[in-house]
């Protein structure tokens, strides 16, 4: 009987091996964000709990845990509770296909990129359901904004992914990384790498595109009615999504686990360390942008998505196909 369940147990074990470091990373991402922004604004940041404030994330987590969960009486309580669970669950489930090294992956599936894209396109449900189930004007307006924004920027992310797929010839994430042995895609595909990064900011509702939770006009947007653990799940989900988007960016453009040069001191470092470094670099850009740029106006956000990014990434897809065709560089030929 044990043999029948052994494969399931190993998969659960692998999942825990990914999820526990991920949740730790989420906790310390909140700490790093506060420290980095503090440094950029000439403040000190959290420094009271533990050395250099290193225990601050856990203090915050424990505080949220022992608060009361308040469910508004006019809300739709089942769906109200479903929304944060969905957001959190989706942000974790995408990690099943992320390759951390040459043979470090839970599910090496053929359509890895599509799986990631599908999961990230589902993220909008958590927000839109939360806005509707709260039965509150602020939450509903925040959810509508967020849904429109995420759908708009998904289109250009999809086209960016198509351009990368054209140069790889496979939807498998491992093969996408291995195709970058000679040169990382950030060099030939620099313009769409920038588009991907900006769209990732919009997709994760981060500044300067954090309109769904614009404090000044919407109090705090879709999660205004949530308290305690339900709020914590939204928060964790949002930060896990940031890490996921950075991981996606480093796989598509920065060569995943590959070292920058294939010469001795660089190849000594294990691949997972390079991957973590690249993710950290992209996360730093997320935080840096938040500390630097003011919030976009809503119509400008939509204009940027539909009238600038969409045509440009479409042209880039055609251009990539034409260049690959013309120079006989198409993979599989």
């Amino acid at each position: 009987m044990i043999e029948a369940f052994l494969p399931i147990l190993t998969v659960v074990g692998y999942a825990l091996l990914v999820l526990v470091p991920l949740l730790l990373a989420v906790a310390y991402l909140t700490y790093a964000e506060r420290k980095v922004i503090a440094a950029m604004q000439l403040r000190i940041g959290p420094n009271v709990v533990g050395w250099f404030g290193l225990l601050q994330p856990f203090a915050d987590g424990l505080k949220l845990l022992h608060k009361e969960t308040i469910i508004p009486s006019r809300s739709n309580s089942i769906i109200f509770l479903l929304a944060p669970l969905l957001t959190f669950g989706l942000s974790l489930s995408a990690w099943a296909v992320i390759p951390f090294g040459p043979d470090l992956v839970i599910g090496n599936i053929n359509v890895g990129v599509l799986y990631l894209f599908a999961i990230s396109s589902l993220g909008v449900y958590g927000i839109i359901i939360a806005g509707w189930a709260s039965n509150s004007r602020y939450a509903f307006l925040g959810a509508l904004r967020s849904a429109a924004q995420m759908i708009s920027y998904e289109v250009s992310i999809g086209l960016v992914i198509i351009a990368i797929l054209l140069s790889v010839g496979s939807l498998n994430l491992m093969q996408i990384v291995e195709a970058q042995q000679t040169v990382w895609f950030v060099i030939p595909h620099l313009p769409i790498a920038i588009i991907f990064m900006v769209s990732a900011l919009a997709e994760t509702n981060r500044a300067p595109f954090d309109l769904p939770e614009a404090e000044a006009e919407l109090v705090s947007g879709y999660n205004v009615e949530y308290s305690s653990m339900t709020f914590a799940l939204f928060f964790l989900g949002e930060y896990a999504n940031m890490i996921l988007m950075s991981a996606m960016g480093s796989i598509l453009f920065l060569g995943g686990w590959l070292p920058p040069f294939h010469i001795i001191p660089f190849t000594w470092v294990p691949g997972i360390v390079w991957f973590a470094l690249k993710i950290s670099l992209l996360l730093f850009i997320f935080v840096w942008v938040r500390a630097t740029l003011p919030r976009y106006r809503y119509d400008q956000l939509m204009r940027l998505g539909w009238k600038v990014f969409l045509p440009f990434s479409l042209i880039w897809v055609v251009l990539t196909a034409a260049v690959l065709m013309g120079l006989h560089l198409l993979p599989g030929q």
Binding site: N110, L114, F117, A118, S121, E154, L171
Partner: protein, 205 residues
Amino acid sequence: MIDTTAILFYVFSGILLGSAMMVVTARNTVHSVLFLILAFFNAAGLFVLAQAEFLAMILVIVYVGAVAVLFLFVVMMLDVQLSQLRRSAKGYTLIGSLVGSVLAIELIFLMLNWKISSNAPDLTTTPLSLYQGMSNTEALGNLLYTHYALAFQGAGLILLIAMIGAIALTLRHREGVRKQIVGDQLSRQAKESLRLVDIPSRSGT
């Protein structure tokens, strides 16, 4: 030995049928859309079991990620009064059941006359010997862009026409709307908009 695929097949198809029923019978329209999404998910699960992982992902991306979001959008904004809807639906009971029974009879006739080829199981498990050893994304691409290129382009053209039609029907040019003109903003010079004035102390401009 437990046949995991069979168990998963019955779980997926059971939930699929159940949630499809709930789409029609749920009292709250938002619940209906959410059950529809659950149905799409289980259909994607069935595709994965049939080893059509590309179709499964496309189903999730297109239907769940885009179409159902728009459904949810519309349904949430509508604020339908259900009791009212029920009262107005009563008028259609007769004609509705008539159409429904005609369709049901047609389906039953079709099922009775349906002939299943003797090598159907082989055809479904190994569709074409030509595409063996290929991932099904490649196999689909090879078929779509060679044998079915015209049909594929035709389908694309129909979608394009539908899109243009929808835009033409809803596009209105409103008077007196102030729009942002990015070109004008970018071509603005400092000397057009900025005037430096040296103000002596204790006097206005």
